[in-house]
């Protein structure tokens, strides 16, 4: 135990000597890494925006292994980082082991909604609602009546995306066909643009003329191939319309950056012990409209999407979440 305290002291001294105030926020990225062009990078952008606006600094670590999750949480908590923001559902389990041990530290976790700790702020995005809207646009833009969905790995989160998308497609065109494929079975599937490109080609040969990629870095290949083959694509997480102007129909925005920015801005006063749902109403999810896709979006589409958004917010339209009963009314996985 003496060794342990000595070590903790040393670690604390190190944090001090780094010239940082003790209550520095910390950001723990998920295994995909900081620059994944999607989920983690959005968090990094949010944190960078906070740092630029306030002149503050933050600690960060990119996970390399599962065992590091708990390790990083504990080490940051011990050195007094506050709040500690963590990314991804993989952090839920380690967080439930660590959070009770550091009642004075505030934690925020993105993509988790089922924990219950007084010092944890959970942020869950209603990806199915945003996907529903892009699904509607896809069905309206499609001439063949067949649209494609390219997921990363076959995990519940991606089924959740695909399920909302398929419901939107069917809402706009009940006869439309949705082809859904997953990229792979290992974490490499999140960053495999070549495979993404192949799947897109396969979907095109089955008649798809709009494809929606929810596959992290793999999506870059999907969007590229769609542009090359002259069909439309839909980006995800951040606004990817600019990657191929005039070829990307829209992007399903998931404002992870806003969630991280707000958590850092609140700092030690971060409100915890609650689940923050970032849906359409909170503008946590949405469709990207800008100059790059203005020519592709018809007035009819815009009206339909706006109406659907209002209906969902008002509760008139219910988009079924895949999590509700682990199945999807519009798509089989």
């Amino acid at each position: 135990m003496t060794l342990m305290t000595k070590f903790m002291g040393a670690a604390a001294a190190m944090a001090l000597s780094a010239g940082a105030a003790l209550a520095e926020p910390a950001l723990i990225f998920d295994l995909g890494g900081k620059f994944d062009k999607s989920f983690n990078e959005a968090a990094f952008n949010g944190a960078t925006r906070w740092a630029e606006e306030t002149g503050g600094t933050f600690r960060e670590i990119e996970m390399q292994s599962e065992a590091q999750r708990e390790q990083a949480l504990r080490r940051f908590a011990e050195t007094g980082a506050n709040p500690i923001i963590t990314m991804g559902f993989g952090m839920a389990d380690p967080l439930s082991a660590v959070a009770p041990d550091y009642p004075d530290t505030k934690f925020a976790v993105i993509d988790v909604s089922w924990l219950d700790f007084p010092n944890v702020r959970q942020v869950a995005f209603a990806e199915h609602e945003g996907s529903y809207l892009v699904g509607m646009m896809a069905a309206m833009a499609s001439k063949s009546g067949t649209v494609g969905f390219v997921g990363g790995m076959d995990v519940p989160l991606i089924r959740h995306f695909g399920c909302g998308f398929a419901q939107g497609v069917k809402a706009a065109n009940p006869d439309a066909k949705v082809i859904a494929n997953m990229t792979g079975t290992t974490p490499a599937a999140w960053n495999d643009p070549v495979k993404g490109s192949e799947i897109t080609k396969a979907q095109i040969s089955q008649g798809a003329d709009v494809v929606y990629a929810a596959a992290g870095g793999t999506g870059v290949g999907v969007l590229q191939t769609a542009a090359d083959e002259g069909i439309l694509s839909i980006g995800v997480d951040s606004n990817q319309n600019h990657l191929h102007p005039g070829k990307v129909l829209t992007s399903m925005l998931k404002r992870v950056d806003v969630a991280v920015y707000e958590a850092m801005k609140a700092g030690e006063d971060l409100e915890t012990g609650l689940v923050v749902t970032m849906g359409l109403a909170e503008e946590g999810v949405g469709v990207a409209m800008d100059d790059n896709n203005a020519a592709l979006v018809t007035d009819e589409m815009e009206t339909a999407v706006n109406a659907a958004r209002d209906d969902i917010i008002a509760g008139k339209v219910n988009v079924v979440s895949y999590y509700e009963n682990d199945s999807c009314p519009a798509l089989d996985f």
């Binding site: 990119e62 390399q64 292994s65 065992a67 390790q71 990083a72 559902f89 995990v155």
Partner: protein
């Protein structure tokens, strides 16, 4: 005739290789504008400077011991098992099934039961490529690596569709019951009056891994089966002439190899996570190849190399926590060690052999002159 004395073979060659890897790593760290001395200090103090650091180092080392031994035993039969990753994944599945569906009264019984299941699942996963190699001549390198992907797909399917608790977003099993939780080194050492960090994941599986090292040594050098495996590895035709069945040795060596790789799951699945997650093996099956190469397929060598790699993993994690050295560079440092100790072994060995040969010649000449 051995050119070098044994101590040079076992200690000097790896040590010089490590030194070279260290020097190049230092240059790389210097090139990105960080202080290599501080980085080295941080790695050593973070991995070995506290019981907390040791706890993580030994946790990683336990994984690498199992997978290293798995590769080593296959090497002795001149079989290159690069399917340790998939076999360990299947071992994890076996552990999860044992821990979830059997109400164990005590952790010791659970450990035995889970270890049997882990070994069995790993062995089955290795037995299929082994059979294909022995009977059909399908090359084991190709089949084992393909089986890694099949294992990943199988694990993904079972976790998402069968073992995941209803409504959970995380593709992982439920937590195992308290009764199956293995004692950590903290629990084991505190009755002896030794204070060991509570937070570190190293657990009783370390002792199982050490026992496996010893057991494998007995098997390879003290039993008839071990002799047959080695004989087959040295020369298949000679072994055949001596009445050793190639089919039997291929099967047996690969089954032992798969079982050892599968056993890793009692450490990472049962000991650390206490549930099965999608990404539980995290490349330990591949690190096992480097560990076996560096340890020259000797169980003691594997033990030492596994601790070295455990140190690199934990030290690398500390670097990632406290410096701005990007994680890709930490992988570069780990890769340099693998490169120098595994692949570029002869670069150090050959000049050393020449040196020792020259010294011996000089000595012989001197003795000759004196006579």
């Amino acid at each position: 005739m051995d050119v070098m004395p044994k101590w040079a073979e076992v200690v000097l060659v790896p040590l010089i290789s490590l030194l070279l890897a260290g020097i190049i790593s230092a240059l790389v760290v210097l090139a990105i504008g960080e202080d290599p001395v501080a980085a080295a200090k941080l790695m050593v103090s973070g991995a070995l400077g506290s019981t907390y650091g040791w706890g993580y180092t030994l946790y990683y080392a336990t994984n690498f011991m199992f997978t290293g031994l798995a590769v080593a035993i296959a090497f002795h039969a001149r079989l290159f098992n690069i399917g340790g990753e998939g076999q360990a994944m299947l071992g994890g599945l076996g552990v999860a099934l044992a821990c979830l569906y059997i109400p164990w009264p005590h952790w010791s019984l659970a450990l035995v039961g889970a270890a049997v299941m882990a070994g069995l699942f790993g062995a089955i996963w290795a037995a299929i490529p082994a059979w294909l190699q022995a009977k059909r001549g399908s090359h084991i390198v190709i089949t084992t690596i393909m089986f890694n992907f099949i294992a990943a797909a199988l694990l993904n399917y079972t976790l998402v569709n069968m073992l995941r608790p209803k409504g959970s977003m995380d593709p992982a099993t439920a937590r195992f019951s308290e009764a199956t939780n293995l004692p950590t080194l903290h629990d084991l050492l505190s009755p002896l009056g030794i204070a060991f960090s509570k937070a570190a994941p190293a657990n009783i599986s370390l002792l199982v891994a050490i026992a496996a090292c010893f057991g494998l040594w007995l098997l390879i050098w003290r039993t008839r089966l071990g002799y047959e495996i080695r004989a087959y590895g040295y020369s298949e035709s000679a072994a055949k002439y001596a009445g050793i069945s190639p089919v039997k040795i291929t099967m047996v060596a690969m089954i032992i190899s798969g079982a050892l790789a599968g056993l890793m799951a009692i450490n990472n699945v049962m000991g650390e996570a206490e549930r099965l997650v999608l990404n539980s093996t995290e490349g330990a099956g591949f690190i096992g190849i480097a560990v076996a190469l560096m340890g020259r397929s000797h169980p003691l060598g594997v033990f030492i190399a596994a601790i070295l790699f455990g140190f690199l993993y934990q030290g690398g994690a500390e670097l990632a926590l406290w410096t701005s050295i990007p994680r890709e560079l930490i992988v570069v440092i780990q890769a340099l060690v693998i490169l120098f100790t595994g692949a570029l072994d002869n670069m150090v060995r050959m000049p050393l052999e020449k040196l020792f040969l020259a010294r011996r010649r000089a000595r012989v000449a001197k003795e000759g002159a004196a006579n």
